[in-house]
Symmetry: C2
């Protein structure tokens, strides 16, 4: 009665986790295994423990986020592009809140939250604005956007205040592009 079907259990587990997150449920190894039609211990053949699985899910999330940022990066003007990236970041957090929170929940072994090229997508644009104090400018920009997303999820922001958010983002890039030296 061994199944041994269908492609790659790990992928199906991660997919099931993403689905559960989208559904607003809280993910658990057992429920996850049940959804995948497999025994409770099966996931342990592919992930050291629950955190390892969640780290894999988070990585998928970071990849998606990077794609969203890239898609929003079209404008030639760096200021416009950065604001658009910020809005995309916010939209991602609001569209998939549980996943977003998981991504930044600090599961020990996982990758740093600033992952892969999602970071690079932004840094390239910031460099056009503030090449001398790049580090500080990048930190300011990313912090502001990430903080706004977090506050939005936790109820501090009204979900329809997009014009205020837009104005705030413009202030940030203004402050950044005004920097001459550290």
């Amino acid at each position: 009665m061994t199944a041994k079907i269908s492609p790659e259990l790990p992928e199906r587990l991660v997919a099931a986790a993403l689905a559960a997150l989208e559904r607003g449920e809280d993910v658990g190894l057992r429920a996850l295994a049940r959804d995948t039609g497999v025994s409770a211990m099966a996931p342990y053949r592919h992930f050291r423990d629950k955190d390892a699985l969640l780290a894999a899910v988070a990585m998928r999330g970071f990849a998606d986020l990077r794609d969203q940022l890239l898609a929003a990066n079209a404008a030639p003007d760096p200021r416009e592009a950065l604001v658009a990236q910020g809005q995309a970041y916010l939209a991602f957090a609001r569209a998939r809140p549980a996943l977003f929170r998981l991504m930044f929940a600090g599961h020990d072994g996982g990758p740093p939250p600033i992952e892969d090229n999602a970071y690079g997508v932004m840094v390239r644009r910031v460099r056009e604005l503030a090449p001398v104090s790049l580090e500080a400018a990048t930190l300011a920009c990313w912090s502001a956007v990430h903080g706004m997303a977090t506050l939005a999820l936790d109820g501090g922001l009204s979900p329809d205040g997009s014009s205020v958010e837009h104005a705030a983002l413009k202030m940030i890039v203004a402050g950044i592009s005004a920097a001459k030296r550290s």
Copy 2:
């Protein structure tokens, strides 16, 4: 064999939770009750469920945070004061990371993360800088500081990069004080 001693179980439970958080352990109702020398079900006489207890803990955290911000608010110049507040906010998050994360973890029934006067402490200073676009400026400032704190906890920032952080904070207030209209 009924204890019925000592002042107010709820306070002692919250205190035990804070202690456990400070110790880096993860809080649980049972362990909490054990630390307090009381039975596992006792907390339910004072809190509807675990989330309610955590919400109380979070409120205590917000009060502490507000005090830190007030203490950092001394400088007469609003720009300096805001930067100092940001640094205090960061210091709080780094000094008590588990509590900070709990405060913004979005336990349903709790208060909004921007709590009490902690918010007001900052808003008053922002108003001196950008009275016309207050909403956006406040959002920009709070978002940046909160995002920096979150990123710091999740390993994205080096713990000794305080000069970069300082520069980033200055950029933020520069962008805010440059705002003339929305």
